[in-house]
């Protein structure tokens, strides 16, 4: 009810949440609730992490992962948004593609691994293929739902003033779909990260995933967790950035403005 900007730094409660998680992970093995060889306490993971970050391999792998992630995500988002807007605003296209979309979407990207390797070997291309394939659907589906959510009155207003097709997309469809696009982006961002790491893990393309695989094969449990933590941390950072963008671009939207006023 009262002013939203009370707690000063908005990131603080989030940090508290993460700290709680760290504490739980520290305590579980210490209290012998789980075997510390399977889940080492936070402190040991942290030590392993410190070891990792002092190697150049780690930074190199991180760079590779981020690079593949970023490219895959950009391609998927751009393609997903464009396809979504086009398909969503042309009912005929929508009817024609619906079944194909539903058919292709659940095909697991992991099943595409042989195909990817066939085409690109263990190089970046393989990872990208899997990442784009998986992330594309996330964006596409969100945009389709977003386009369907256009307020009929707003849509009619645009039509009555004879907005050009582009004008309608730019000024009506796009702003309405934008919140959905953001959700799609956030979903795609993490799916892309998950797929990048998985592809590296399974195919062996260079990156964090390969490091995780190596750690797993080597029984280096703490190191494995340390690398997992890095992936998770990447997710948190990515989300933080997205949220910031969202607050900027969606200041007019109920979900954002509802939290500032009242």
């Amino acid at each position: 009810m009262t002013s939203a900007r009370r707690g000063g730094n908005p990131a603080r409660p989030g940090l508290a949440g993460l700290a709680g998680l760290l504490l739980i992970v520290e305590l579980l093995p210490r209290l012998r609730l789980v075997n510390d060889r399977f889940l080492p306490p936070t402190s040991r993971i942290a030590a392993a992490l410190a070891d990792e970050v002092s190697t150049s391999t780690f930074w190199h792998s991180l760079g590779e992962t981020l690079y593949a992630w970023a490219i895959g995500l950009v391609v998927a988002v751009v393609a997903g948004v464009l396809a979504g807007l086009v398909i969503g605003s042309v009912p005929l296209l929508r009817a024609l593609t619906a079944s194909t979309v539903e058919f292709l979407r659940p095909i697991p990207s992991v099943a595409l691994i042989p195909l990817a390797v066939l085409l690109y070997g263990t190089q970046l291309g393989s990872t990208l293929l899997l990442v784009c394939y998986a992330a594309f659907w996330q964006v596409l589906v969100q945009v389709l739902y977003g386009v369907a959510d256009v307020d009929p009155v707003a849509e009619e207003t645009a039509r009555s003033f004879r907005f050009s097709a582009w004008g309608r997309v730019r000024h009506v469809l796009w702003p309405t779909a934008l919140p959905y696009v953001f959700t799609g982006f956030r979903l795609a961002a993490s799916v892309a990260l998950v797929l990048t790491v998985t592809a590296e893990l399974v195919i062996g393309a260079p990156g964090l995933g390969k490091e995780i695989a190596t750690a797993q094969n080597s029984d280096a449990v703490a190191t494995m967790y340390a690398l997992i933590v890095v992936t998770g941390a990447l997710g948190v950072v990515i989300n933080l950035l997205t949220r910031t963008g969202e607050r900027r671009l969606l200041a007019w939207h109920q979900s954002v403005r509802g939290e500032v006023t009242v």
């Binding site: 789980v34 005929l92 099943a111 195909l115 959510d149 893990l201």
Partner: protein, 258 residues
């Protein structure tokens, strides 16, 4: 008439694509991309009723269990997080943290707690497909019209009724978007989960075909996955139509023009 048209437009593109695939792949010598003709033969040979019962049925059960649990958790947690700003601030980074962890690397950890039975597979599915539901629910709940909320408050529509009669229906279109996305992710994770500690299931079969270099059979498995996904999404679509008929009507009335 209308129904025929709908069916026509639904099958037109797939038929075209399959025809294209059939023609282009005919005579393919590549070991990993065999002609579609061969794949279709393999399909008919492989997916006999007995095999369907042995591999597809258990997969489907895990899938449904995982999807339903994810839906419950996703919507439940999503509503709580969406309604409560402070809870959201506390939980969001933790959730984002877990969201970014690839399920395959978590499988060992999940095995620790859940063993290697169906429970583990269901948890893997839940872990992967809860996110779109959760995110969409949170956003849907946050976007409930302020006048609607005021109306509910003013008329004392509070407590459970506020949830079931106001918040959930209002957010339901977006929740549906999340559920739909989760459904296909659930299928993907079904396959992934069956790659570990498994001895039956559709995913297991596909991986097994791949490992034993039965490539046409592997492709037939992938096609079956696609068909399965399509069938499930059709069921989902029908359910959605029914549950959101108000929304469809609301949108459709104004679409009749031009």
């Amino acid at each position: 008439m209308d129904v025929l048209k709908k069916i026509g437009s639904a099958v037109a593109l797939p038929v075209l694509l399959f025809a294209g695939w059939f023609l282009l792949s005919d005579g393919s010598a590549s070991f990993y991309a065999p002609p579609l003709r061969q794949i279709l033969t393999a399909f008919a040979d492989t997916w006999q009723p007995e095999r369907l019962r042995a591999d597809v049925a258990p997969s489907l059960l895990r899938l449904l269990a995982g999807f339903l649990v994810a839906a419950l958790i996703g919507v439940g947690l999503g509503v709580a997080v969406g309604l409560n700003r402070r809870l959201r601030a506390v939980l969001e980074p933790v959730l984002e943290f877990f969201r970014a962890i690839p399920p395959p690397v978590l499988v060992p950890v999940i095995m620790l707690f859940a063993g290697i039975g169906d429970g583990m597979k269901v948890i893997v599915i839940v872990f992967g497909c809860v996110w779109p539901i959760l995110l969409n629910t949170v956003e849907g709940v946050r976007a409930v019209d302020s006048v609607v909320l005021d109306t509910a408050r003013a008329y004392g529509v509070t407590g459970p009724a506020r949830l079931t009669r106001v918040i959930l229906p209002s957010a339901s279109p977006q929740i549906a978007a999340g559920l739909r996305q989760a459904l296909s992710i659930a299928i993907i994770l079904m396959v992934i989960s069956e790659m570990f500690a498994s001895s039956n299931g559709l995913g297991f079969a596909v991986v097994q075909f791949q490992r034993s270099f039965a490539i046409p059979e592997m492709w037939s498995g992938i096609i079956l996955l696609g068909l399965l996904g399509f069938a499930l999404s059709l069921v989902f679509r029908l359910a959605e139509r029914w549950a959101l008929r108000w929304y469809e009507g609301l949108r459709a009335t104004r679409r009749r023009a031009g």
